[in-house]
Symmetry: C2
Subunit: 419 residues, 2 copies
């Protein structure tokens, strides 16, 4: 059993001074010190540092690290057509595995304990996730070119064959890369499996306009009409959503996954935070892939969501740091089906991080939550634990591989693909 | 003498593989390894890490750390009137010193080697700067309530009495906190001293509108007409500048100091980057104070300047990472009169930082500059050297004070002021 003590703890009801004990993969106890303590295998003196649930990266393409800083500052379509797609066509399982490992090192060092990944060569990411001890939820990236009957196998395979750290959700790439026939088939699949459905949704204005031209409905309206949301789910980006789209999300309990850094870098635009919050839409936070971000940093996402809300509304009072922090932690867990990993509470999985309060950017401590959102950064992450196992502590990784070897392999494959 | 070797070096002409030798406060040699090496006091194997000039924080209010996360998410005027001004009225030299130290720890850990500070109790910051070995340029924050004849003493005192690390520039708070008589007096002062002049300029739309109502001119037009720019200088923020204002800046060689994070958090608006660059306006980068930002992080500033340009122009190709990195380093040095600290070159002051390339966010290395701007963060700073002295290395400070004691003192004074 591992004991955390002597520091603030971010619990669902607020910041406490409780102890947290971890037994195996789960949190065994959260409360005051007791007279008769059990025998601990390790006692971690937080020394004033904050213990909080790990960030849930609710939308990413981990394997895209090879494109980091390789294709920036281009308009979206040129970026996709000229840079991303030709490079991705050259990916192999081996190279994808190398690139995924770089992303995982970044997640872990940045306090992310789970990712909701949509990319290719999914067996590789599932295997690395299992072997390293990192939590991954895989989302299908099916397009019109795929045989969608494989969705059954995808769902079954990743929900069962890689152990408790790997799971799967039904998903497809986006409306504009599929067709009505495929979506009708998916409706049959999701009803049989009683499963939520995920995809990129309303990331650009043209995507929505084209969908209306094709189907007479927005992407959200189309998916809802086809019954794809009968078991929940949600969308990534969700920028160009109408009030009616947000109403559907609210009514169905769907989650809008915000990707502010990607939306900023690709100049896609501003999420309608104020309207979504007023309607009670569930929110989560994701980094999107490293090609369009380029960091995998939930601090920066939380920060930029609030900043973009203020700029969009031309109101310094816009945004809501506490709500966005909650979205980045428990909102993501809810979206990903990880409700057993969403909080520090007895019985929950021990997916937790230690935030260094001994860095000047967290001082003085007028408000811990605002410090995290407005001045926190990856340097504040001192420890990352997933399912009770410390994967990172004080700059060192415990994932069974040497970071330098991971970087060297990723560099080799990157040069082979990009030159 | 200190030797840096075995890593890329960001020189004015680009990234090289040169060695860098430091002798006393200055860079003695930049070039390939030599057959007969001098005797080094210390040899630092960069092991692939990047050596680059330190960031110059070209606009800040260091003493405001006590307001970090204490007064967020409020409209600008309410924020100033209800939160900032009443709290600042309670500042003493002792409490200001404690708060400045927190900012300095943050600067140093974040790779900032000099700050252009405008705040109260300036003797405190000058003294700490001298004692710690950090470089500070003080800018007067004079308002209508001050006796402006003290500008002579201010300029003389801080340019001479605290040694080579402390200097001063003529400055006043802003047009809206002074009057024409004071500005005419300042014109006399700056002509006598042949000194550049600095102030907040065009941060909000109302500031510009009010100035036009009062003087029939924009702030920039007014200052130019009064001769305040006859010896150079520039402005902080510079958001609501007209084309004519930017022309004045370009013609006079003035510097616009960008403060994107503050402008975002206070919903002030977007700098006209495209127009300023087209006109050849000199640029620098500053964090503004920790009350309105809340971090003192030049990575985030560089990032957000580019992101805000993309969002403003609705064009993913907008922004210019290389230009903004240059602004954050040599542009700031130029603005602050620190042209002997602006680059890694023989004869320049050794104000340099070591960037950890062994963190996943910098991998793979497709483009070092874009990595710095789009995915870099304070966790990448492994070492900060000012005037040849290592102030920070691998998480440890060498400033003669214990960070924990600094934080405790700042916490004590913060509670005394804010409750």
């Amino acid at each position: 059993m591992i004991r955390f003590f002597n520091g603030p703890v971010l619990e669902p009801a607020g910041v406490t001074e409780n102890e947290v004990w971890v037994d195996g993969t789960a949190i065994a106890y959260v409360g005051p010190a007791q007279e008769n303590m059990p025998a601990f295998d390790r006692q971690i003196d937080l020394n004033g540092d904050l213990l909080m649930p790990g960030f849930k990266n609710a939308h990413t393409h981990s394997g895209m690290t090879f494109l980091r800083s390789a294709a920036d500052d281009l308009p979206l379509h040129k970026w996709l057509e000229k840079q991303v797609f030709p490079a991705e066509a050259r990916l192999t399982p081996e190279s994808t595995a190398a690139f995924v490992k770089v992303a995982f090192l970044e997640y872990i060092a940045n306090g992310i304990t789970a990712c909701f990944d949509m990319y290719y060569h999914t067996d590789e990411i599932a295997r690395i996730s299992r072997d390293w001890g990192f939590r991954t939820v895989l989302c299908g990236s099916f397009t019109a070119g795929n045989d969608w009957s494989e969705l059954y196998d995808f769902y079954d395979h990743y929900n069962h064959d890689f152990g408790p750290l790997v799971s799967a959700r039904l998903g497809f790439h986006a409306e504009y890369t599929t067709n009505r026939e495929k979506l009708e088939y998916l409706s049959k699949v999701c009803h049989e499996l009683k499963a939520p459905v995920w995809c990129h949704n309303s990331e650009t204005a043209s995507e929505v306009a084209d969908c209306i031209a094709r189907h007479g409905m927005t992407p959200t309206g189309l998916f809802d009409t086809l019954g794809l949301y009968d078991y929940g789910g949600g969308g990534y980006h969700c920028i160009y959503m109408t009030d009616e789209d947000l109403d559907i999300f609210a009514r169905r309990g769907l989650t809008a996954v915000l990707n502010a850094c990607s939306n900023g870098k690709l100049a896609s635009g501003f999420f309608h935070l104020k309207e979504a919050v007023a309607k009670g839409v569930h929110l989560a936070v994701g980094t999107d892939g490293p090609a369009s971000n380029n960091a995998l940093d939930m601090f920066r996402e939380m920060y930029l969501i609030n900043i973009m809300a203020k700029l969009r509304e031309e109101n310094a009072a816009a945004g809501d740091p506490a709500l966005i922090l909650d979205a980045a932690v428990s909102g993501g867990a809810r979206a990903m089906g990880l409700t057993d990993c969403d909080a520090i509470a007895a019985g929950k999985q021990a997916d937790m991080i230690r935030i260094d309060m001994g860095r000047a950017n967290m001082r003085p401590v007028n408000n811990v939550v605002k410090n995290l959102v407005y001045s926190g950064n990856p340097a504040n992450v001192r420890m990352t634990m997933v399912a009770g196992k410390v994967l990172y502590e004080n700059g060192e990784f415990f994932v069974g591989e040497d970071p330098a070897a991971v970087y060297a392999e990723a560099e080799k494959y990157t040069r082979a693909i990009l030159g």
